[in-house]
């Protein structure tokens, strides 16, 4: 109880508009070995970079949803000060991408409702979808939800393919505005550095502003 209350104070005492970012990560068996290790390292680096940026520090709120044979929440949204770095993620099972994206969208909706209910300003949320394969469940509902939200400017989505096995055609369905990007090798570090810079850039803007993404910076990690 006490913990929850402290969490709530933290939420409402900070007048900085928030950027909720949901990391929706593939942890199926094909990710095992160096991909999952690099991914964990990249995520922790992302947290550190957000922590060090004076603007992003107060605005970014991050959660992690993983999907393998089913979808699950690794940790819920929290400000960077409360986030523990993740020690490891286990890779196993199939690729329930539809369930993963749906869960990520649900958590974003819940978080927005919390902001709205407490009187906290926010930017439209970000969804980062990373996979090295093809979905093993039905993704139609998830695709429809994402596309609707992107078109209504209620979501910014970053579909990222990992390695040559990633099904870019499926990822393209999640990204109506720009083609999905394929990670160059295992350049998770470069990707997450870019992502933290982009979050920082948004947190220096005002909600409602159009923020240009640093497209030149993509070259550091994406195969173009």
């Amino acid at each position: 109880m006490a913990r929850l209350n402290i969490g709530a104070d933290d939420l409402v005492d900070n007048p900085t508009p928030r950027v909720p970012v949901s990391l929706c990560l593939d942890t199926s068996s094909s990710m095992s070995g160096s991909p999952i290790q690099e991914l964990v390292r990249g995520v922790n680096l992302f947290y550190d970079a957000i922590d060090e940026d004076d603007d992003a520090h107060d605005s970014a709120e991050i959660n992690i949803v993983e999907f393998n044979s089913s979808a699950g929440l690794v940790h819920d949204f929290a400000s960077i000060e409360r986030l523990q770095r993740i020690s490891s993620l286990a890779a196993s099972g199939t690729t329930a991408m539809g369930a993963g994206v749906n869960l990520a969208l649900d958590t974003l909706e819940t978080r927005k409702a919390t902001y709205s209910g407490s009187g906290v300003l926010y930017y439209q949320p970000w969804l980062v979808l990373m996979t090295d394969g093809a979905p093993t469940d039905n993704i139609d509902t998830a695709v429809m939800r994402v596309v609707d939200m992107v078109e209504a400017k209620k979501l910014t989505v970053f579909p990222i393919g990992i390695g040559s096995g990633a099904d870019m055609k499926t990822l393209a369905r999640f990204s109506p505005n720009r083609p999905p990007l394929r990670l160059d090798g295992l350049k998770f570090k470069e990707f997450f550095e870019w992502l933290s810079r982009s979050v920082a850039r948004v947190s220096r803007s005002t909600p409602g502003d159009t923020v240009k993404l640093d497209l030149e910076g993509l070259a550091g990690w994406a195969e173009l």
Partner: protein
């Protein structure tokens, strides 16, 4: 030339078929030429008043205005003003005793009529057929109005002032017309040079048609009017001697044009090379030229790069996208005008590259750090300035406003006011940077920040049009609110979808104000911060931000804000006025204490100082003192309303003293459940059921709608009904007076103003 005034004996207006009224300004008159006039009037009229039982009328509204004036802290005011304030206090004492002996009536006209001026006009119009009436006032506008009214109705209605001997001095038509024009010229000059406030603008708007009509009716010509200083004494500056309030330089600087038209669109400038660190550049100020070497790179912004100049200056070199004709011409204008004021980083010299092309400018170095990185967030604020109190934030507002006021007097509009181009140092000095984006002489400010953009500007391209002063004043009001509230946005409320443009456009300012119940206040301690803000500043905020506010479309000027914040500062220093020790906290944890006698205690659980204040309970007329502070209460398990784990219930039951509490839905304070009615605490229940005294039924001119009912309409974005019949209630004017269906307000228990007035005129 005939004498400009006519002298009459005021005692004639104390005859039974006549009435005499006095306006506020007569009691506060400090003109030595007229000293003692009021006293003489009463001496001369005493017998007649008592014989006819016809006391002089000083309406309740006037008494109210005097009361308000007498409460102003005179320290820091001009000597003349301080004397007037003192006079207001003395007048109150005098009126009290004069009314006791039947010389004065001050029970007419309650607060239901918001304007004393309108009240006099209504009275005169309504009773012109019954009585000859006379009003003593110094206000030229109302004099003109009543003179016109008398002409229209062909009745004897007089307006004048008293001489030293208590004679009634009435202006001739020419003299009144002449004085009206001079008053108009004074206000119009202030509006024209940008130093005008709301009052100046409304006087100009009112006087213009009034004088036209006056001239036509009385066959007077404007040409006869000489626009010189007043013959008697001048308290307001005449147009030729208008002063720029802050930081007036020794040699006066001419302001920029107030009426320049929008320049044609901006175009890029050609250049051969942009200099960088270590390169030599040429500079040219208003009267000197020279060269300098660009020092260390200090920062890269959205428009260019800033390098170290010398000890007190920096150099901004624009990047290719921002090297434009508008910027060049604007900077040349600023440099040429040689404006100097502390804290304003105004270009002092134009900078050219080795090819002689314009590439940037020199400006004074700012100290301190951006608002965004220091005071606009609790975590940063407590890290940067851990010892600061509310009064320090008020000082920052004052420092900011002095600079804005100066720029406005120069007809410069800052345009993109935002927390990244305002800096503050540890001595509370504010610095304004980004002068090259300012709007002046028809060059627009091409950038903006949505959070500080007025509803009228939202959705337009910033560079397409000139900003109006109203747009600027929206940004000023928002910035002041966000300084006092350390970064909170005025339109924050619960139930938003994050769309800031929508929040600004809808104008639903959600912080609790007077008896309005707004359920959309944000969670957290913001409501407590808001609660402790000095009332006059709070009033200005509410009226500026709420779409129903009186200043929503006529926003307060920098000068008005400056006065309000200076008063806030002296309020915080005055222990008697500012009785709640928590009011000087930047982050108070409870609402401001209700009154001076409210008990204030430390929290027995956590020991926080002054953390508990008694909450007034109207029903049993005493203070309810919570057992714990709000912070400790919030740490407790929530009230057992939904799920109740058996173990908790048992523990709670075993505690002998705890009684079940719940939160009042309006004020969010915790109360014993037994005291709540329909989820409201006793005080809020009373408030909700009280009729709003400021809203009168259009038929019977009586208060008719409760705050609760108003809140219902407001929450649904509906217009507030204007009469009893519109809310399906019986209007007393319809002939069937019925008791109010809800609780009665105090003013309801007396017969209405007009009823009492009728009775009085009828001699009952």
């Amino acid at each position: 030339m005939s004498s400009p005034v006519v002298l009459l004996d005021p005692v004639e207006f104390l005859q039974p078929n006549r009435r005499l009224f006095i306006d506020t300004n007569v009691f506060m008159d400090t003109e030595p030429r007229r000293a003692g006039g009021l006293k003489r009037l009463f001496e001369r009229g005493q017998t007649t008043i008592l014989a006819n039982n016809n006391p002089i009328v000083v309406p309740t509204k006037v008494v109210g205005e005097l009361t308000k004036q007498s409460q102003i802290d005179p320290s820091g005011e001009s000597e003349e003003r301080a004397q007037a304030i003192k006079k207001a206090g003395a007048a109150l004492t005098f009126l009290k005793s004069a009314s006791r002996v039947g010389l004065v009536r001050k029970d007419l006209g309650d607060d239901t009529n918001p304007y004393a001026d309108d009240l006099f006009l209504q009275l005169f119009e309504r009773f012109a057929g019954t009585y000859e009436m006379c009003l003593l006032t110094h206000d030229i506008t109302i004099k003109l109005r009543i003179r016109l009214l008398a002409h229209r109705l062909a009745k004897r209605l007089l307006v004048g002032v008293l001489t030293k001997d208590g004679d009634l001095e009435v202006d001739t038509d020419d003299s009144l017309f002449d004085r009206g024009h001079r008053k108009y010229a004074r206000h119009a000059a202030r509006v024209a040079d940008g130093t005008g406030n709301f009052k100046d603008e409304s006087e100009v708007a009112a006087l213009k048609p009034l004088l036209d009509e006056f001239g036509k009716i009385f066959g007077l010509k404007t040409s006869a009017v000489k626009l010189g200083p007043r013959t008697t004494r001048s308290s307001a500056p005449s147009p030729s001697t208008a002063r720029w309030p802050a930081a007036t330089p020794a040699a006066p600087v001419n302001p920029f044009s107030a009426r320049a038209r929008l320049k044609p669109s901006d175009t890029p400038l050609a250049f051969s090379a942009l200099p960088s660190e270590g390169e030599r550049v040429e500079w040219a100020s208003a009267d000197k030229t020279g060269t300098l070497v660009l020092g260390a790179l200090l920062g890269e912004g959205g428009e260019g790069t800033v390098y170290d100049g010398d000890r007190s200056t920096v150099v901004k070199i624009f990047d290719r996208d921002h090297l434009t004709r508008h910027r060049k011409e604007k900077i040349e204008l600023l440099v040429g005008r040689n404006l100097r004021a502390k804290g304003l980083c105004i270009p002092t010299a134009v900078v050219r590259n080795s090819a002689g092309e314009f590439v940037g400018y020199v400006m004074p170095k700012a100290s301190g750090r951006e608002f965004q990185r220091t005071i606009f967030n609790k975590r940063k604020f407590e890290r940067e300035f851990p010892t600061w109190k509310k009064t320090d934030l008020v000082d920052i507002c004052i420092s900011f406003l002095e600079k804005v006021q100066y720029l406005h007097s120069m007809n410069v509009i800052l345009g993109d006011i935002n927390p990244k181009n305002l800096m503050v140092d540890e001595k509370k000095n504010v610095f304004i940077i980004d002068a090259d984006s300012w709007q002046l002489e028809g060059y627009p400010c091409p950038v903006g920040t949505p959070m500080f953009t007025s509803p009228a500007m939202l959705g337009k391209a910033y560079s397409d049009d000139l900003r109006a002063m109203e747009d600027e004043l929206f940004a000023v009001a928002t910035m002041l609110f966000m300084i006092v509230m350390t970064g909170q946005f005025p339109y924050i409320r619960t139930g938003t979808d994050g769309d800031m443009v929508q929040l600004i456009k809808e104008g639903n300012f959600a912080f609790q104000y007077e008896n309005r119940n707004n359920k959309d206040q944000p969670e957290g301690d913001w409501k407590y911060m808001w609660s402790h803000i000095h009332k006059p500043v709070k009033d200005l905020f509410w009226h500026s931000f709420h779409r129903e506010g009186k200043r929503y479309k006529k926003r307060p000027t920098a000068t008005e804000w400056l006065e309000a914040f200076k008063a806030y500062k002296s309020y915080l220093r005055n222990g008697r006025m500012c009785f709640d020790p928590m009011s000087n906290d930047v982050y108070p944890i409870r609402n401001k204490a209700f009154k001076q006698d409210a008990p204030i205690q430390d929290c027995p659980t956590c020991g926080r100082k002054d953390a508990i204040a008694g909450i007034w309970n109207d029903d049993n007329e005493e203070y309810f003192v919570p057992r714990q502070c709000n912070k400790c209460r919030d740490q407790q398990p929530a009230p057992l309303s939904t799920a109740r784990p058996p173990s908790t219930t048992r523990t709670a039951a075993s505690r002998p003293t705890s009684q079940p509490t719940a939160t009042c839905k309006d004020c969010h304070t915790s109360f014993p459940t037994a005291q709540l009615k329909y989820g409201r605490c006793p005080a809020c229940t009373t408030k909700a059921n009280t009729l709003d005294p400021n809203r009168l039924c259009t038929d019977c001119r009586q208060p008719f709608i409760t705050y609760d009912h108003i809140a219902w309409f407001t929450a649904k974005y509906l217009d507030i009904p204007k009469s009893h019949s519109a809310i399906k209630q019986v209007c007393p004017a319809a002939g069937r007076p019925t008791p109010s269906p809800t609780a009665k307000s105090r003013s309801q228990s007396q017969p209405g103003f007009w009823t009492r007035l009728w009775k009085w005129f009828a001699g009952n």
